[in-house]
Subunit: 202 residues, 2 copies
DNA sequence: CCTTGACGAGACGATACCGTTCCGTCTCGT
DNA sequence: ACGAGACGGAACGGTATCGTCTCGTCAAGG
């Protein structure tokens, strides 16, 4: 599925004469900027090359197609998000998670790219696969850890539904921040946190 | 902005020789099917005409551009959703609202089109305007009515935040049903209802 | 110093749309 | 019966993108 070469994305200390990292980086940046500018459906390799100041051949030397490039690059980025640390209380964990997620969603590139990718997943199985891994699995793991710790502390009943918990941790924030474009407001995240905890405890 | 003719979408009892309704309907259906098939970004007028079994001229006789056609047709559809009736209790109102919305989100065309349009709104102001009206305003009015009735009944404190309430009524359901593609499950809507009410009361 | 190979640039044929403009046909209301 | 006008179909010139391929340049290693 993802068929890009490892040498440029993971060149190691010295892998011999190699596709130049600076070019790979320029293409990567150009890709995300272009993705934010026109969306996946209208993204063209020529535009990416133009923006990167490179030739198209430099792109096709690295990835066999637009879909493979997208899957590879999106996969790389999403992997980064670190686990939320244990703040000692459910409220602290939730607020930290919401704050981090809200900040990510407000990034100018993310706020334009993410909804587009989520929609594109319906048309392109390769994208759906990457997002399913990154958003589905990774996110479920993080939220699951938070809820599990809360259950251990006795802050939540054991009956708490992890799947629905994920919907509450992600849904209202995504809807408000990414779709409704609600202005940044720490107070909103505080209230959101209290409401989510109330929902989780129900 | 929306410049389609009134004669065919609202021909009245007898408006003289008119663009044929059957063609308008064929084009409308083809538009939504094509939208579901390839998304807004890649939607082509030729494909719509092909699918409708019409000539492109028949489309351009009705709308001046793809954007105007989209705004007009999407606006027409979204208008339909009726107000939720008063069931007498907050729980009944919320469950009815969630059930209706969930059903709508599961419609094969809606589930593919809506996320795409929400994403496209970031690139096309005309779409953003229509969605802002239909989803933003209309939805805020509906949910606002439900919450206001609940406050009058004493089921919710007066301090309830309508804006955040909207995020909770829409977010988890949209995330679970449209993004996570959770299977249809009445029990899930029941639990969702209880959790939303707990959140609203927090 | 000379070979190697990635580089930017861009031409290439193929394909797809755009929005417009013609056909010749058919269905109306008059 | 007639004329207006919408119809499906097809073609127009123009633009954009695809993925491939060929240039001449340039930097590094042997």
């Amino acid at each position: 599925m993802i068929t890009s070469m490892e040498r440029s994305t993971d060149p190691g200390p010295r892998g011999g004469p190699v596709l130049q990292d600076s070019v790979t980086e320029a293409i990567t940046n150009a890709f995300f900027e272009e993705l934010a500018a026109v969306g996946y459906g209208r993204l063209s390799m020529e535009a990416v090359a133009r923006r990167a100041g490179s030739g198209k051949a430099a792109i096709y030397r690295r990835w066999p197609s637009k879909e493979a490039m997208t899957a590879d690059l999106v996969g790389q980025v999403s992997v980064r998000a670190a686990d939320t640390l244990d703040t000692g209380t459910l409220r602290g964990d939730v607020l930290a998670f919401l704050t981090a997620t809200d900040e990510a969603l407000r990034h100018p590139l993310v706020s334009r790219i993410l909804p587009d990718l989520l929609a594109s997943a319906a048309y392109h199985p390769a994208i759906a696969a990457v997002l399913g891994d990154e958003i589905g699995t990774a996110r479920r793991r993080k939220v699951g850890a938070i809820l599990r710790r809360a259950v251990e502390r006795g802050e939540l009943p054991e009956s708490a539904d992890i799947e629905l918990g994920l919907d509450f941790m992600a849904g209202p924030l995504y809807w408000g921040t990414a779709i409704r474009s609600a202005p940044a407001d720490p107070g909103r995240l505080e209230r959101l946190t209290d409401m989510i905890i109330a929902a989780l405890a129900a």
